[in-house]
Symmetry: C2
DNA sequence: GTCTATATTCAGATAGAC
DNA sequence: GTCTATCTGAATATAGAC
């Protein structure tokens, strides 16, 4: 058998993700990806229409990972409401730390072309919004959700970008600022 | 005179910035920049050692612009402390809106190579921290500063990235969440 | 200080044989 | 489904003449 099937969508995505995390978004080229898979570049185009399509799939995976992480955090905590929200924020941050390059691809550098299925974004958003609504009332739940998302996202991006140059306990800071944001809405 | 001086550092930076804002970071290539300046690519290398050096200067300009915008906002407001902090946050956001691509280059995609002089970052940080310290006390001023920065940065990046898909009055939301963060620290 | 000309490398993508 | 072979284009950067 000269050419048995050696790759499929999953193995491509997995390798692409690993390569991206190791060498940055720019380090992920079609040529290099093919080489890492032991295959020639044209083969990849039988599985993905374009590089953009591949990146879009990677972003979908990232969002699914975020949703799962938060879901798990939520259901392994039976504390009060503010604690549950904090637990989800922590899970989000941890996931971003574990996949910094993937997270950056999905949420900074945002090119419309690479935006994943909006359905996933809704899922992610609603999961948090439900609990926030309990805290601040349904009328304020959208701005409150956005404030929390902005806070968590901003913190993660700044710390991953090395912008907090004066050190300090960033884990503790994260908990403090999330708590402050929650408290600020409750009064 | 066959070859009079036609460009200098300032004109290069100005044109580079405009080109970047119009066509994105990837639209700014050395070749295209030279063409826009009516000059050939090699000429640029007499003014900047590399493309990275040029981008680093652009980032320094962005940070200087942020500092100036916040400084101006601060000194044209004589309200109480929370209002002053809000005014600075608003000025930061407006500046980012006016230079979205430059802002993105400076604060997302952060490659160490392109990081501007840390001195500017300190300036930017201290300006805010002084006022935050009055609000929360000096001991908490660093985490509080970081929380505010994360919130503002995160909000700006998400809105510029088109991630707030459900519409709404984002100006009002911004004021609300910044106020919530400030209130959360005051209790 | 700018030019012409070019080196070098790499990108994403495709045609057509097997 | 994978291959060989190749296209096309663009990128950053440099040597050396004027």
């Amino acid at each position: 058998m000269p050419h048995p099937a050696r790759i499929d969508r999953d193995s491509i995505l997995q390798t692409a993700r690993a390569m991206m995390e190791l060498e940055g978004v720019d380090g992920l080229s079609v040529n290099r990806l093919a080489a890492a898979l032991g295959v020639k570049p044209p083969s990849l185009y039988h599985h993905f229409a374009s590089k953009a399509a591949l990146l879009r799939e990677l972003n979908t995976t990232t969002n699914a990972g975020l949703v799962l992480a938060m879901h798990t955090a939520l259901h392994t905590t039976d504390a009060d409401l503010p604690q549950k929200i904090l637990a989800m924020a922590q899970a989000y941050r941890i996931y971003a730390h574990e996949h910094p390059v993937s997270y950056g691809l999905a949420y900074t550098n945002v090119v419309a072309e690479l935006r994943p299925d909006p359905e996933f974004l809704e899922k992610l958003a609603l999961m948090l919004q439900v609990h926030i609504a309990e805290l601040v009332g349904p009328g304020e739940s959208l701005p409150a959700l956005r404030g929390l998302w902005a806070l968590v996202h901003g913190f993660v991006v700044l710390e991953l970008g090395g912008q907090f140059q004066r050190g300090g306990d960033l884990d503790a800071t994260f908990d403090q600022i999330v708590t402050a944001q929650i408290n600020g809405w409750q009064r």
